[in-house]
């Protein structure tokens, strides 16, 4: 008698453990205003993924070092779990990244202790790894995961859309980044924050992706600087209502009418961007209907992925980019 046993464990790894409504906190100073506190309260946010620091390659010593460490000027509201999140510049992976596994874990633990951040059970690593850096990056993750396990903590990692077609990293679960899906240089044709056409090619990988997944969706907007059709920079919360500097020409577009110099948002150094008379600034915001459509398609392709939704990111100026009802549809569909 021939017995055919069909084993299918894939359903078990679709969703993550202990899901809660969540937000990313991606600033260099930790401080919450009333609007942000109200947001956390209204949507019963239970987790906050806080960027603690970046890891970069030092331009002089060529060694890996922390950069842009967060300063805590405020405490995290009671009842919210903090997940320290570390952004690692992909270039670091080729610089003996494994040597910093212990240093990184120790630094995070010390930051928790110094700033009385209790109940931390997890660490998240964010890195735009590629096929070339995959092996070294994964070995590093395994090492970090082992160090965290000794402390009873787990490890998660961000997954970009293009990484869905690659091997899954050795972590406890992944956060699928549903933002920055497009190409900034071509943002006149598509929304670089979230555009369905950029998501389409990757939906087919979702069902079989081997890691438990949750999804992170954008609520932020961008002010993109162009010279002609050439993308040059992202501006940081520039006051575009100043008509001595910017002239509105419709469709969220502004022409620079007088040269000005502004801090460079894309650079970690203290550099500036020149806005020349004649440049254009385009205001790009995510579209709520697109967000809901993408959210639903993800649920269809991979049930359970939206059990935990993370909003990127908690910021006074971004919160109002959606109506309360839109957040409800995402957090509690």
């Amino acid at each position: 008698m021939l017995i055919v046993v069909v084993v299918c464990g894939c359903k078990e790894r679709k969703a993550i453990d202990n899901p809660k409504p969540a937000v990313y906190y991606w600033r260099t100073t930790f401080g919450l205003n009333d609007v942000e506190r109200q947001f956390l309260h209204d949507y019963k946010v239970g987790k906050m993924y806080v960027r603690y620091f970046d890891v970069v390659v030092d331009s002089k010593s060529h060694e890996l070092r922390p950069n842009a460490t967060i300063t805590f000027n405020d405490s995290v509201p009671a009842g919210i779990e903090v997940i320290p999140t570390i952004f690692i510049v992909n270039e670091c992976v080729n610089h003996n990244i494994d040597t910093i596994a212990q240093l990184l874990v120790d630094r995070v633990l010390q930051m928790n202790e110094t700033h009385d951040i209790a109940g931390v059970k997890e660490l998240q690593i964010d890195c735009d790894w590629t096929a070339k850096t995959q092996d070294a990056y994964f070995a590093f993750l395994e090492h970090v995961r082992q160090l965290l396990a000794e402390k009873g903590m787990r490890l998660s990692a961000t997954i970009r859309l293009h990484q869905l077609s690659m091997k899954a990293p050795p972590v406890d679960y992944g956060v699928l980044m549903m933002y920055n899906t497009g190409d900034l240089k071509n943002s006149k044709q598509r929304n670089p924050i979230l555009d369905k056409r950029d998501v389409e090619p990757y939906l087919k990988y979702l069902a079989d992706y081997s890691l438990p997944l949750c999804a992170a969706y954008p609520n932020f907007g961008w002010q993109l600087l162009f010279t002609g059709d050439k993308f040059r920079d992202i501006l940081y919360s520039e006051d575009l209502s100043d008509t001595t500097l910017y002239q509105p020409v419709g469709n969220g577009k502004y022409v620079v009418v007088s040269s000005i110099d502004l801090p460079n948002y894309l650079s970690s150094n203290s550099t500036y961007t020149y806005l020349n008379a004649g440049d254009t600034v385009m205001v790009v915001k995510p579209d709520a209907s697109t967000l809901v459509q993408v959210h639903d398609a993800l649920s269809h392709e991979r049930p359970g992925i939206n059990d935990q939704v993370i909003i990127y990111h908690l910021n006074n100026s971004s919160i109002n980019n959606y109506k309360p009802g839109d957040y409800e549809k995402i957090f509690n569909p």
Partner: protein, 699 residues
């Protein structure tokens, strides 16, 4: 200061042998009335020099100064740092005491954001307390030798603690009376920072300008970097230090706008065009007013600024007149030199190719070389004048030579500017792109065609010896499909010459007789190294091709079909997509394209395969021909298939762009052949991954 004008995608990671194509050359700013070194840390060099002198001229003291913050206070007495060691050796207690306190400060200045060791709560509290101790000790210093240094420590401690008002008081009550040196200037900079942070921004900016701290001025002036700001500053003080920065910045920004404005996209915005034209005209008028008022001590700068803006605005006569005049006016020597450099560029626009003009250019180029201070490797000691050299050459005179119908002179100018760089220069790439006849013409020009002193000076940098000429001519003829003609040149190229070229690595390891669609010959460019070759594969390839053509001409039937198949492989191998691209190219990469004068290697190969596959009755040859056609078609497979996700039904559909990629039908031919009953499908057919995907999309 520079911005990149041309941003074409460069296959940097996949370039092989020669680095060519996709040049990214900055649109260097022409207008420079202050030295760009002033944008660097204004105090670092002088403070380091103090320690170099202290250690008896040991230059490594500069580095020791940089890493003083790495000395731990508790290890100070055993530190091996050169500066500390020298003071210890001399028994210089006063210096040691100062260094000990400085090290203590540097270890507690809060700049450990980049350290892996994150401070504990106790350490943070300790740091605050230590900073207070350093402050008190610095204030208590009664000596004279390090009076300014201790005063600086006081201000640094206050700054770290955020006590800006304390620094303002300290400077205004006592520190401003200290003797003048770099430490005092540094203190004044901190004082300016304190003023800035307490809302006294204008006063702060003027101090930064006086100190020549252009980086801080740039920050301070970030909201005034336009004509309105210039007018305000001038009204407040016609000789304000900040005007030097603002005027230079305005002219450079205008250049930036116009350089980018060469993109027709920007011209679509009518508002934009009007805006920068109005701003330029307003500036020209304003500069005229400044000059007429005669309140400025730097008329050379204002005259040159309006002259260069006039040049950019297309007012050529005014530009030439004002840039010439500026060289005679008051101001710094750099301001007058700046006018001369700008005039050199501006003159090209309206020049005629006369001997008189070329004599002028020869003089100006030699002056520019002297200002740039080139060493024997053409490395400039003043990078600004090197920028001028490049902009004048690449962006103005080379295009003007083409406009005058003098392409050989243009190519030679590229050679002069690259100093005959064999690899990785626009000259080498220009030589590579010439057809065999144009290259022959260029060689003739260098040997016999120059007609004035300037051309002879330029040509003196562009030697092409016989070996190089024969190698390049032979290669160009291979590229053009003239195999018989190529033999005559390639026969004269010694193997030792080829062995010294980047392509030798590939030539020694890749065989054009191997059938590319059956077995690829991959080599990592990362391991690229010069390799001695035992035969000139280009020469052998030409001989084989000539012999093969003779055989084809004298054969028929299945023999001919096999020969056509063989020739198709050899042609494909020599193409930019082939493994043996070195036969007809000096460089290759993933984004390589068919060159202008290149023979249609791939198209011809495809036609030969179609003919051989169609005529043959040999089923094995037929399937090889079909497979080979599919191999060629698969190159564009990724481009021609489009997947669309239906957001309602949540399903994918696939479409093929058969119109743009008609050769994709070859894949259908292969699919039909594989699916037809009775065909003896070889493994390479049934296991082909592309055909599997193609089949999936067709279902």
């Amino acid at each position: 200061m520079k911005k990149y004008l041309i941003l074409s995608l460069l296959a940097a990671a996949a370039l092989q042998a020669w680095a060519c194509g996709g040049w990214v050359r900055p649109n260097y700013y022409m207008f420079s009335v202050f030295n760009r070194d002033m944008m660097k840390d204004p105090f670092a060099q002088e403070t380091k020099q103090y320690w170099v002198d202290y250690t008896g001229g040991d230059e490594s003291a500069e580095y020791s100064c940089d890493i003083l913050d790495m000395v731990k206070p508790e290890e100070f007495d055993k530190s091996d740092n050169l500066i500390i060691r020298t003071a210890r050796k001399r028994g210089d207690t006063e210096t040691l005491n100062y260094l000990r306190l400085l090290v203590k400060y540097l270890n507690n200045d809060g700049s450990d954001d980049s350290e892996w060791n994150y401070p504990t709560k106790e350490q943070l509290a300790q740091r605050k307390s230590t900073l207070q101790q350093v402050l008190k000790q610095a204030q208590a210093y009664k000596g004279t030798k390090y009076k300014n240094q201790y005063a600086l420590l006081v201000m640094r401690c206050n700054m770290t603690a955020g006590n800006h008002q304390a620094n303002i008081n300290y400077w205004e009550k006592s520190a401003h009376r200290l003797k003048d040196n770099v430490y005092k200037r540094w203190m004044k900079g901190i004082y300016a920072g304190a003023l800035y942070n307490t809302g006294k921004k204008d006063k702060a900016c003027e101090i930064y300008a006086e100190l020549g701290d252009m980086t801080s001025i740039k920050y301070c002036m970030r909201k005034k970097r336009n004509l309105k700001g210039i007018k305000e500053e001038y009204a407040a003080n016609p000789n304000s230090h900040t005007l030097i920065f603002l005027v230079q910045d305005f002219v450079n920004n205008t250049q930036e706008t116009l350089d980018n404005g060469s993109d027709p996209e920007i011209m679509r915005y009518v508002e934009a065009t009007g805006i920068y034209e109005n701003e330029m005209n307003d500036f020209i008028d304003f500069a005229g007013k400044v000059l007429a008022e005669k309140k400025t001590k730097s008329p050379a700068m204002w005259e040159a600024a309006r002259g260069f803006i006039n040049y950019m605005a297309g007012n050529q006569d005014d530009a030439i007149k004002q840039l010439t005049n500026a060289q005679k006016l008051d101001g710094t020597q750099r301001m007058r030199d700046n006018a001369r450099a700008c005039l050199m560029l501006a003159s090209i626009k309206s020049a005629q190719p006369t001997n008189e003009y070329f004599d002028y250019m020869l003089g100006e180029y030699k002056w520019l070389e002297q200002k740039a201070g080139y060493d024997k490797d053409h490395y400039a000691t003043d990078p600004h004048y090197n920028d001028v050299f490049e902009r004048v050459t690449y962006d103005a005179l080379v295009p003007q030579y083409y406009h005058w119908g003098m392409p050989n002179q243009a190519t030679a100018l590229l050679g002069m500017a690259s100093r005959n760089n064999e690899y990785s220069s626009e000259y080498s790439c220009q030589l590579d792109s010439l057809s065999s006849s144009d290259f022959e013409g260029f060689k003739h020009y260098l040997d016999n065609g120059t007609s004035n002193a300037f051309e002879r000076w330029v040509a003196s940098y562009c030697e092409i010896d016989n070996t190089k000429f024969n190698d390049m001519m032979g290669t160009k003829l291979v590229r053009e499909g003239e195999f018989q003609a190529a033999i005559n040149y390639l026969e004269q190229v010694p193997l030792s010459y080829i062995s010294e070229q980047g392509i030798s690595y590939y030539m020694a390891r890749k065989d054009y007789n191997k059938v590319i669609w059956m077995k690829r010959q991959f080599l990592s460019f990362l391991n690229e190294e010069l390799t001695p070759v035992t035969t000139n594969a280009k020469l052998q390839y030409c001989r084989d091709m000539v012999a093969l053509d003779n055989q084809i001409a004298n054969s028929n039937g299945e023999v001919r079909n096999e020969l056509l198949y063989k020739k198709a492989n050899m042609l494909f191998q020599a193409s930019h997509k082939g493994d043996c691209w070195y036969l007809a190219h000096y460089q290759n990469g993933v984004y390589a394209e068919k060159l202008r004068s290149e023979y249609d290697f791939i198209g011809t190969a495809r036609r030969l395969l179609v003919a051989a596959g169609h005529d043959t009755e040999n089923i094995d040859l037929k399937q090889r021909c079909i497979f080979a056609q599919s191999f060629i078609a698969a190159e564009s497979f990724g481009y021609c298939v489009t997947s669309v996700y239906d957001w309602d039904s949540k399903k994918y559909t696939y479409t093929f762009d058969n119109e743009r990629y008609p050769h994709i039908r070859s894949l259908e031919l292969l699919l039909d052949f594989v699916n037809k009953d009775g065909n003896p499908n070889a493994d390479y057919m049934t296991k082909c991954d592309v055909i599997k995907v193609f089949q999936q999309y067709n279902n």
